[in-house]
Amino acid sequence: MSTATVEKPEAGAADSAASHKITVTFRIRRFNPEISADASWQDFVIDIDPKERVLDALHQIKWEEDGTLTFRRSCAHGICGSDAMRINGRNRLACKTLIKDLNPAKPITVEAIKGLTVLKDLIVDMEPFFQAYRDVMPFLITSGNEPTRERRQSAADRERFDDTTKCILCAACTSSCPVFWNDGQYFGPAAIVNAHRFIFDSRDEAGEQRLEILNDKDGVWRCRTTFNCTDACPRGIEVTKAIAEVKQALITRRF
C-alpha cells in the first residue's frame, strides 16, 4: 500500500490511483509576442488528484499537453517565491495552492500577476519590483568597527521585526495593490516590508535614511489601506500593519 504512493504506480495500482483523480479544467491566460499581440484564454482539461497543487497541474500540462506553456518555478515548495500567479482572481503561490481548495468543479483560472509587463504566458518582468526593493536599501548598514563575533541582539529586539523577515519577494502583495496597478512609481508593499525589516532592526543604523526614502510622494503615504497585500501574502505577513508601523514611525519622528 505505502509503496504505491512512493513508487510509480504499476499496472495493478494504476486503477486505484486513477480513482483518486478528477477532471479539472484549467483556464490559462496565454500570451506569446512571437505569435500574437493579444493575450487569450486557453482551456486545458486534465485528470489530476485534487490533493495535488496547481503547480503540479501546470507541470502536467507543460510536460504532457503543451510544452510551450511558460511559467517560473524554482524550489516548488513555497520558499523561492518564483511562482506567484493570479489563480481564480487571487494572487497565490501555485506551489502552495491545492486544487481541492479551489472548487475544481468550475474552471480554475490562472494568469500572470498584474501591474507588471507580461513577457510570455505567466512570466512577468520583475525589474520594476526589484528596483523598488533596491531603492529601500535592504541590507545592514552600520558605522564603526565590525565586531569580532556576531552582532548581538535581545530576543525582544529580534521579535520586533520578526514578521517582515519572512518575505520571499514573490511580488504577490505588490501586484495585488491597486495603487501599484495604476502607478508603477509607488514603492509597493514588498519594498516597504523589506524596509520595515531593517528600520526596526536594533543593529541597523540607516533607519533614518530609509524613512526619508519612504516619506516621499511615492512612499508609504500612497497606501490606501485596502489590505489586498495582507490577503495576498503567501507567507502570512501582516503587510498593511507593517506599512502602518512605518507611517507611525515617520509621524513620531516628526512630532
Binding site: 505569435i35 486545458f44 482539461v45 499537453e65 501591474g115 495603487v179 495604476n182 508603477g184 515617520l250 509621524i251
Partner: protein, 161 residues
C-alpha cells in the same frame, strides 16, 4: 488530445498575425503604467505627503462634529429646514461664534475634499496631461469656493436691500 482552445473565433486572426509577428519581430509588450524612466522626477525630500495624510485624519475628526452639528441645527432642531431663511442666517451670523464655526467648516471641508480629490486623481488619472488638467480644475474650483465663502462670511450685511 484533451486540449481545447476557447478562442476559436480568434484563431483566424491569430493565423494572420502569425505572419506579422515572429521571433525576429515580436509583438510589443504592454509597459506598466508610468514606468520609471530617466525623465521621472526624482525624490522631493519634503514632508508634504506626511502633513497631507495627517491633515486628512485630524480635519476628518473635527469635521464629524462640525458637519453633524451644522446639519442638526439647520435641518432637525427647532422646526427643521422650513425655518431657514435670510433672517435665520442673518441672526446666526450676528454671533462671532457661528461665523467662526462656518468659516472653520468651510476651510476644513474644502481642503479635506480637495486633498481627497487630489489623491484620487493621482491614483486614477492614467496620463500625465489628464492628471495635470484635472488638478488645475480642482485647485481653481477649490480656491474660488474658499475665497467666495470667506468673503461672504466676513462681508455679510444683514441690512442688504
Amino acid at each position: 488530445m484533451t486540449t481545447e482552445n476557447t478562442t476559436t473565433p480568434a484563431s483566424g486572426t491569430t493565423a494572420v498575425e502569425g505572419e506579422r509577428y515572429s521571433p525576429e519581430n515580436p509583438a510589443p509588450v504592454i509597459e506598466p503604467p508610468r514606468a520609471r524612466t530617466t525623465r521621472t522626477p526624482r525624490s522631493t525630500r519634503t514632508n508634504f505627503e506626511l502633513y497631507g495624510w495627517l491633515f486628512m485624519r485630524l480635519s476628518g475628526i473635527l469635521l464629524v462634529f462640525l458637519v453633524i452639528g451644522h446639519l442638526l441645527i439647520q435641518l432637525v432642531l427647532d422646526g427643521g429646514v422650513s425655518k431657514v431663511s435670510f433672517a435665520f442666517v442673518a441672526g446666526r451670523w450676528a454671533s462671532p461664534f457661528w461665523m467662526a464655526w462656518d468659516l472653520i467648516m468651510l476651510w476644513l471641508a474644502m481642503l479635506h475634499g480637495a486633498n481627497g480629490m487630489r489623491t484620487i486623481i493621482n491614483d486614477y488619472a492614467q496620463r500625465d496631461n489628464t492628471r495635470f488638467w484635472l488638478k488645475v480644475l480642482l485647485y481653481t474650483a477649490t480656491t474660488f469656493t474658499i475665497l467666495l465663502g470667506t468673503l461672504v462670511i466676513f462681508t455679510f450685511d444683514p441690512n442688504i436691500r
